[in-house]
């Protein structure tokens, strides 16, 4: 927000903040005392007698500390670790995870709340907030609050049988307490930390700070690049990326109807990186490509059938059935041609039945099954199937003819 402020913006001061207790430096304090909610930044610069950019920078810091705000709504205070006079903690509007509150362990509700609350805020609080120290505390005072927090969070304070998932949380909190103390008790580390997190520096240091910030950003960028390079070099990562690419191209090819190419691409992707979605795509395409691949065989079979070359037709349809066992037409044609080359109707019958099952409304299917029954000497069943074929296709001459012949035979 700070960066977008210009000289016409009006900074406001939060009413509920005691400026004397924040450990502001003279410059910050002085400027904060001039902010009254009516004066613009430009006017403030005139009042204080400093250039606008400098005023903006100090206001920026004040905004981050939560002293100054812009707009209509004063920001509500972040829940703090500080406990009230009666020892209870103000949890703010923190919502406790139900699973934690209901876990089966030996902790009381108040303890669960305290632990969960602290643990959830470990990353958010500054070291000062965690230790409940003031920014102006000297080493001795820091040690005192560290001892107080240790007494609250040392694992020796939780020597009960079952702590459930709170055990790790307690450990984490105590470790963070130690980290915080390690930094705040060491003058050098504390200075560096303050610079980064607490914004309590004079303007002379600001230039230095910005320089450092830039250096940090540059270092971070370099680190990022280094990581990227390392990642790019890594063959495993490469394979994973390649698999992803193949997978995407397989999807594209499937949508374009190039099923065989799509299948090949998906298979490569799954081989490079065995992920469930890749495997699923392979399965899907296998089924689809089966249908797709069977077409030429059926075509060839039908051509042979037309030329009454039933033996070769049988071969073609047998291949078709092998590729796509669920293809009704292939089944029906195979059954028909088997009968035509004079093979045992027992061989043809299962295919014909499967054909009817797959294509229940196809007259051809019923006709072929009828033929099978007829050749097998089961006239009644044959008549039923043939009638059904005629029913489905009233001008089915061949079927009518066979039906008639059957009746004469009676």
């Amino acid at each position: 927000m700070g960066a977008t402020n210009d000289k016409n913006d009006v900074p406001k001061i939060r009413e509920d903040v005691d400026l004397t207790k924040l450990g502001l430096n003279v410059e910050e304090g002085f400027l904060a005392s001039r902010v009254d909610g009516r004066t613009t930044i430009g006017e403030l610069a005139l009042v204080v007698g400093k250039p606008e950019p400098e005023i903006l920078r100090v206001l920026d810091r004040l905004e981050k500390v939560g002293v100054v705000y812009y707009g209509d709504d004063a920001p509500t205070a972040a829940p703090s670790a500080k406990s009230g006079a009666d020892g209870t903690i103000d949890f703010g509007d923190y919502i406790f995870p139900v699973a934690l509150m209901q876990e089966d362990n030996d902790l009381s509700v108040a303890e669960r709340k305290r632990i969960a609350f602290f643990h959830a805020h470990l990353e958010k609080w500054t070291h000062y907030e965690l230790l409940q120290a003031s920014r102006t505390d000297d080493t001795k005072a820091i040690k005192r609050v560290y001892f107080a927090r240790s007494k609250e969070w040392h694992p020796d304070r939780f020597r009960r049988g079952n702590l459930g998932s709170f055990k790790k949380m307690i450990d984490d909190i105590f470790k963070q307490v130690q980290v915080a103390y390690g930094i705040l008790s060491n003058a050098e580390k504390r200075e560096a930390y303050d610079e980064e997190h607490v914004f309590m520096v004079g303007d002379d240091d600001l230039a230095e700070m910005l320089k450092k910030q830039k250096r940090r950003e540059r270092d971070a960028k370099r680190e990022e690049e280094r990581k990227a390079r390392r990642k790019a070099k890594n063959p495993i990562v490469k394979r994973i990326a390649q698999a992803q690419k193949m997978y995407e191209s397989a999807q594209a090819k499937r949508d374009a109807g190039e099923l065989l190419d799509a299948l090949r691409a998906a298979q490569t992707a799954a081989a490079f990186d065995s992920r469930p979605e890749y495997d699923a795509l392979v399965e899907e395409l296998k089924a689809a490509a089966g249908e797709f691949r069977v077409a030429p065989y059926i075509k060839r079979g039908l051509a042979r059938e037309n030329m009454t070359n039933f033996r070769e037709a049988v071969e073609a349809f047998e291949d078709a059935v092998r590729i796509a066992p669920e293809n009704g037409q292939a089944r029906v044609r195979l059954a028909y041609n088997l009968l035509m080359c004079g093979r045992d109707p027992q061989d043809a019958n299962p295919h014909a039945q499967k054909g009817v099952q797959l294509l229940p409304d196809d007259p051809e299917a019923h006709f072929v099954l009828g033929l099978c029954y007829e050749r097998g000497g089961m006239a009644k069943a044959a008549a039923r199937e043939l009638s059904r074929a005629v029913e489905l296709k009233p001008n089915y001459k061949e079927a009518k003819k066979r039906l008639r012949e059957l009746k004469w035979g009676f």
Partner: protein, 609 residues
């Protein structure tokens, strides 16, 4: 929460002590003989009986091969360590190598491991506490020198298990001393604990504030202690004798044991007197019905001359510790002296000079450690306790890296619990596994440190060296248990171990020993009951014996009286025989008639007027 007590045991090199917090007051529990400390001496008598403490000490001259003293110097040590080499030279008992490069002690026909020997002392302390509290005690806090490594700590824990004690926490002796010193005080203080015990020297710097005890630095020397002071006197006596008579007294175990006792006595006396006589008549026989006597006068000056370098070594360690922890001597508010050896006036003077402070007199050097242990025990029982100990790791912890170097991951003097990690890379092309060897110590060369454990992380990607990254994380719990995990940052593959330093005993061995010791505890308890009954019967016998002569002439006048006298004498004799024996049953059957006799005799005496 259970209200089962946790006792504090100071398992010392020369003396042990047990304490308990009762109603918020830590107190030392005296042993059956009324002494507040018990010698850490174990002996197996000729009869095969196990003797512990004062009784073991008393018979040590006549039974040097069967008496183990200062076993703490050997506990958790490897067979090829310098401490063992030194002990082989001076010990009167027999040391042999155990199956896991550990040390075992051969007493009579049995071979004992060191945890077993220590367990005997611990069970004695347990028994003392149980008799005082009149209930079973199963939990304890045991103290060890701050500079004990993991192996030595583990061996001490094992000793506890064998003795049937759950060692809930091992704490450092100087830390325990500071707990006793600062207990109940609300002041904020920085103190140095200067602990020169029987076998070890420890220095710790602590900060105390509102019940929290933070160890800031700790260091020491496990090869420096009161025994070294004794040895200087022994050497002086032995070499003087050798010069005079051309006889090496060290060759005679019994003579050596007598000299050892005399040296310790002389040292103690010199703390109060300017000089002392060492008088050991008939120290050695020269064969022809002739014997030589050892008679020397040791002045305090001479003694100080003998041990000045030992005192200086202590102060050098202090100096280094303070420098390492970047603590200025002038920041210290108090110096606490712990361990019997700190009674030496010269040492007190040097400490005073070094720290510029008069050492605190508010604690008893012999008892303070056990008291501190009991305070820690009590604070572990009570989550709301006013005492919290923030202990540190005494050694650097890390792993071996290429070239045999030691890479520290957790630095010494880090507050526990803690965790820390470091990213390592492969060192060879196409290296698919890394061996993580966990060491503890302060040397830059890994092999000079103590190996705690090792494991292998395999399945790494084949890649040029330096490319595969492995994250090694160390974690130390509040109980001091170290766990190490290694993670391949690329694949996320992970391996970990919980480091349990070996004390040289396998799990089965410990279990078997614990069972054996439990059997023994029943025997010991039984023996106690017997002793008690015998003492009571003895008292009745004494009463009867005093009263009997007074009434003898009076009763002798009548037949009835004569018969009664005979009966009384028979009962007396029977009781006397029973007290000589070991049978509880005989004692009980002898008791009734004896009591009747006493009542009868008293009645007669009353009639006599």
């Amino acid at each position: 929460m259970s209200n089962e007590p946790i006792i504090g045991i100071d398992l010392g090199t020369t003396n042990s002590c047990v304490a308990i917090v009762e109603d918020g007051v830590p107190k030392v529990i005296p042993n059956r003989a009324g002494y507040r400390t018990t010698p850490s001496i174990v002996a197996i008598a000729e009869s095969g009986r196990r003797l512990i403490g004062h009784i073991a000490k008393r018979q040590s001259i006549t039974n040097p091969e069967g008496t183990v003293y200062a076993s703490k110097r050997l506990i958790g040590r490897k067979w090829n360590s310098p401490a063992v080499a030194a002990a082989l030279e001076t010990c009167s008992y027999k040391l042999i190598e155990g199956p896991h490069h550990d040390v075992r002690i051969a007493l009579r026909d049995t071979i004992y491991s060191l945890p077993e020997i220590s367990s005997m002392i611990l069970s004695e302390m347990k028994l003392i506490a149980e008799q005082y509290l009149e209930r079973d005690v199963e939990k304890c806090v045991v103290t060890v020198p701050a500079y004990f490594n993991d192996g030595q700590r583990q061996a001490t824990k094992d000793a506890g298990r064998i003795a049937g004690l759950d060692v809930v926490r091992i704490i450092n002796e100087p830390t325990a001393a500071s707990l006793a010193y600062g207990y109940g005080k609300t002041v904020e203080r920085k103190v140095a604990v200067f602990d020169l015990g029987g076998g070890t020297f420890d220095i710790s710097i602590l900060e105390i504030g509102s019940g929290v005890f933070e160890v800031m630095a700790t260091a020491g020397d496990t090869y420096l202690g009161g025994e070294d002071f004794d040895n200087r006197i022994i050497e002086w006596l032995v070499f003087g004798f050798l010069k005079e008579h051309k006889i090496d007294l060290r060759k005679d175990r019994m003579a050596l044991q007598r000299i050892r006792d005399a040296a310790e006595k002389a040292k103690v006396e010199l703390s109060g007197a300017p000089q002392t006589e060492i008088n050991l008549p008939f120290i050695i026989s020269t064969g022809k019905n002739d014997a030589l006597h050892l008679q020397r006068t040791l002045t305090r000056e001479k003694f100080e001359d003998l041990v000045i370098d030992l005192c200086e070594r202590c102060l050098q360690i202090c100096d280094k510790t303070l420098k390492d922890a970047a603590i200025d001597k002038t920041q210290l508010d108090d110096v606490i002296l712990v361990g019997g050896q700190t009674r030496t006036p010269k040492l007190q003077e040097m400490v005073r000079e070094f720290f510029g402070l008069t050492p605190s007199k508010s604690v008893n050097a012999d008892e303070v450690v056990a008291l501190g242990a009991s305070i820690q025990g009590a604070s572990l029982l009570d989550e709301k306790s006013s005492v919290l100990l923030l202990d540190v790791t005494p050694h650097n912890l890390g792993i071996m890296i290429v070239g045999g170097y030691f890479q520290t991951i957790i630095e010494k003097n880090t507050t526990v619990p803690t965790s820390a990690g470091h990213v390592f890379t492969t060192v060879r092309d196409n290296q698919t596994s890394v061996r993580i060897m966990v060491f503890q110590g302060d040397s830059l060369r890994a092999e000079e440190n103590e190996l705690l454990g090792e494991f292998i992380l395999s399945g790494l990607r084949e890649a040029p060296r330096g490319e595969v990254e492995v994250d090694v994380t160390f974690e130390i719990s509040a109980d001091g248990i170290v766990s190490v995990s290694a993670k391949d940052l690329e694949t996320g593959q992970q391996q970990s171990i919980t480091v349990t330093a070996t004390s040289g005993l396998t799990e089965e061995e410990i279990k078997r020993m614990a069972k054996d010791a439990a059997d023994y505890a029943v025997d010991v308890k039984h023996a106690d009951a017997f002793e008690k009954a015998r003492a009571e019967v003895d008292a009745i016998i004494r009463d009867v014996e005093t009263i009997l002569p007074q009434v003898r002439s009076f009763m002798g006048g009548s037949d009835f009286g004569k018969e009664a006298l005979l009966k009384a004498e028979a009962a007396l004799n029977k009781a006397k025989t029973a007290t000589q024996g070991r049978s509880m049953e005989a004692l009980n059957t002898a008791r009734d008639p004896l009591e009747r006799t006493l009542r009868m005799l008293r009645g007669v005496a009353q009639k006599m007027g």
